[in-house]
């Protein structure tokens, strides 16, 4: 049996009932990874030895009749900007080439407590800055559906590893769409939780007022199982706000849904067609879908790139090669020249964002850019709050375009930024948003984005699973 095809519930049940062992399952996954990695390059580090060790430990516990967690034996990959104790965590950057965290991120600890097995750390755009995983210093990840195309980003490795059947679940991080974008491009499910639902302790910061760690899975049930494990208040992250429930995926309760005009009109016509046909499918099972408009979303992207670059310029000031970094002796350098030389090893996109951030925060310009960007956030929050009084959920395309060819947008940073136009709104307001597979154009995946009010993840999971049941979209390519 091809164990690597199973979703997390099937794996957990199979291992618990001793239909197969965790060791057998992990062994099959490691063989699968060896087979497809040359084409996909989803992983920076494969933790094969540790995974097998843990699998054997779990098998022994189950044989002895001991209690194991709800995700016991399920193989998980984790984006390489989330700290795992004792395992290299590089953020796909030279600046953290040798960094071995001395602690587990809270989300990692919760997954281990639930019995999950870490199979590897996945590729990302350097420091999570990017929308295609092309800015990784470890080579680009390729879209399993068409390896000449991008998988999306910045959590491209996470999405690709799930789509390519290299693991059942993955954790990514979403600052401006970095979970939802690759989920859409790779035809998997990816959720950005409400800001404050999931602890960021152990997530290496890029823009800390915007980012959230989010789960990937091949099904909505996978994502809700993972959310149940990782969500919750954390003493170590004072921006966590509680609000956790027990999440399920399967309610059929009809919802009032708004289709955001600005998102569908700004998208490729082939992509919008799929959004409208998804709306029809939801209407077919009892939901009510209306077109809605929100004119302030036009300013969301400018607001996002102002705030994100500003926060990045501050958060990346810590990379001075003194505490973590790469081999570079301080001999022969004086104070400033050492840091300037060390930091020239950032990739180009990272340097660009640090400089942009410095610009928008500079004296005399703070009022023109950063302050206005923060005001736009409150305008968006107010506008979406009033929409959520009339609608349970709002939908649109996750990405305005289809997955494009590797290299296509590398020379034009602004063109690259524009692909985030549908996803950044959720980060600016804090609201939860999911991307769920909605169809294909040719063999290229299209994801539907579903947004809801703060802490209404259950509504999103309900809507997503209703679509999943009625649309039956393929989840993994033949690779």
């Amino acid at each position: 049996m091809q164990l690597y095809r199973l979703d997390s519930a099937q794996v957990a049940a199979g291992i618990r009932n001793r239909d197969f062992s965790a060791e057998e399952y992990v062994q099959q996954l490691l063989e699968r990874i060896e087979k497809v990695e040359p084409k996909v390059n989803a992983f920076i580090t494969v933790t094969g030895g540790l995974a097998l060790e843990r699998a054997r430990w779990l098998d022994r516990r189950i044989k002895d009749g001991e209690q194991v967690g709800p995700l016991a034996g399920v193989a998980v990959s984790i984006k390489d900007n989330i700290c795992v104790n004792g395992t290299k965590t590089t953020c796909a950057s030279k600046m953290l080439d040798n960094f071995v965290p001395p602690y587990d991120a809270t989300v990692v600890k919760t997954l281990f407590d639930a019995g999950a097995i870490l199979i590897g750390k996945t590729n990302l755009d350097e420091f999570a800055m990017g929308s295609t995983t092309e800015f990784s210093r470890k080579g680009a990840t390729r879209n399993p559906w068409d390896i000449a195309r991008v998988p999306g980003g910045s959590s491209g490795g996470s999405a690709a590893s799930v789509a390519a059947l290299e693991c059942a679940l993955s954790l990514g991080s979403d600052t401006g769409g970095s979970v939802r974008c690759p989920a859409s491009f790779c035809s998997v499910v990816g959720l950005k939780p409400t800001y404050g639902l999931v602890s960021r302790y152990g997530l290496i910061s890029y823009a800390n007022s915007l980012e959230q760690i989010g789960p990937f899975g091949r099904t909505v049930a996978d994502v809700s199982a993972m959310l149940n494990a990782i969500a919750g208040h954390d003493e170590r992250d004072h921006t966590t706000a509680g609000g956790k429930q027990h999440y399920t995926s399967g309610s059929d309760k009809p919802l009032r849904i708004g289709i955001v005009k600005e998102f569908t009109e700004g998208a490729d016509p082939d992509v919008s067609k799929i959004v409208y046909s998804s709306a029809e499918k939801l209407e077919g099972i009892g939901c009510k879908c209306d077109q809605v408009t929100c004119s302030s979303v036009e300013y969301a992207l400018a607001s996002y790139y102002t705030i994100a670059t500003a926060e990045a310029s501050s958060n990346l000031a810590r990379y001075d090669n003194m505490r973590y970094g790469f081999e570079m002796t301080p001999e022969g350098y004086e104070w400033n020249s050492y840091f300037a030389k060390a930091r020239s090893n950032f990739g180009e996109e990272v340097k660009r964002r640090i400089i942009l951030g410095s610009y928008v925060l500079s004296s005399g310009y703070y009022g023109k850019y950063y302050l206005k960007a923060q005001q736009v956030r409150s305008v968006l929050r107010k506008d979406f709050a009033s929409l959520f009084k009339q609608y349970d959920a709002l939908i649109g395309p996750t990405m305005p375009i289809l997955p494009f060819k590797i290299g296509e947008k590398l020379d034009d940073p602004l063109k690259m930024y524009l692909v985030d136009v549908d996803t950044v709104v959720a980060n600016l307001t804090g609201m939860p948003a999911i991307s769920v597979p909605a169809g294909f154009v040719g063999n290229l995946p299209v994801g539907l984005q579903i947004m809801a009010d703060n802490f209404q993840e259950q509504t999103i999971l309900d809507a997503a699973s209703m679509l999943e049941k009625s649309a039956g979209i393929q989840r993994s390519p033949d690779l």
Partner: protein, 90 residues
């Protein structure tokens, strides 16, 4: 502030990042284009909008109880006499 090579170089210096001439050339044009896009923020009515802030009461912060890491977080850094060795200050 017009986005000139001098400005980009200066911002690079403030961020302690060396930029080569080639990088300065390329980045100046790109950054200028991006800043022009961010100027969009000038055209939305914001007089009624308060910027987003969150307040945390001091009493809500957790107690400051230091905990040891299991291993050395700075293992990669060069050492001398037990201290991390840095560049000379001038």
């Amino acid at each position: 502030m017009a986005v000139t090579k001098e400005l980009v170089g200066h911002l690079g210096w403030l961020s302690r990042i060396n930029l080569t001439d080639e990088e300065l050339e390329r980045n100046t044009a790109q950054i200028e284009e991006i800043i022009k896009y961010l100027d969009k923020l000038d055209s939305i009515a914001l007089s009624q909008a308060e910027p987003i802030t969150t307040k945390k009461d001091f009493s809500e912060l957790r107690d400051d109880n230091p905990q040891e890491f299991g291993s050395d977080p700075f293992r990669a850094a060069p050492r001398k006499d037990g201290y991390v060795k840095g560049p000379r200050m001038t």
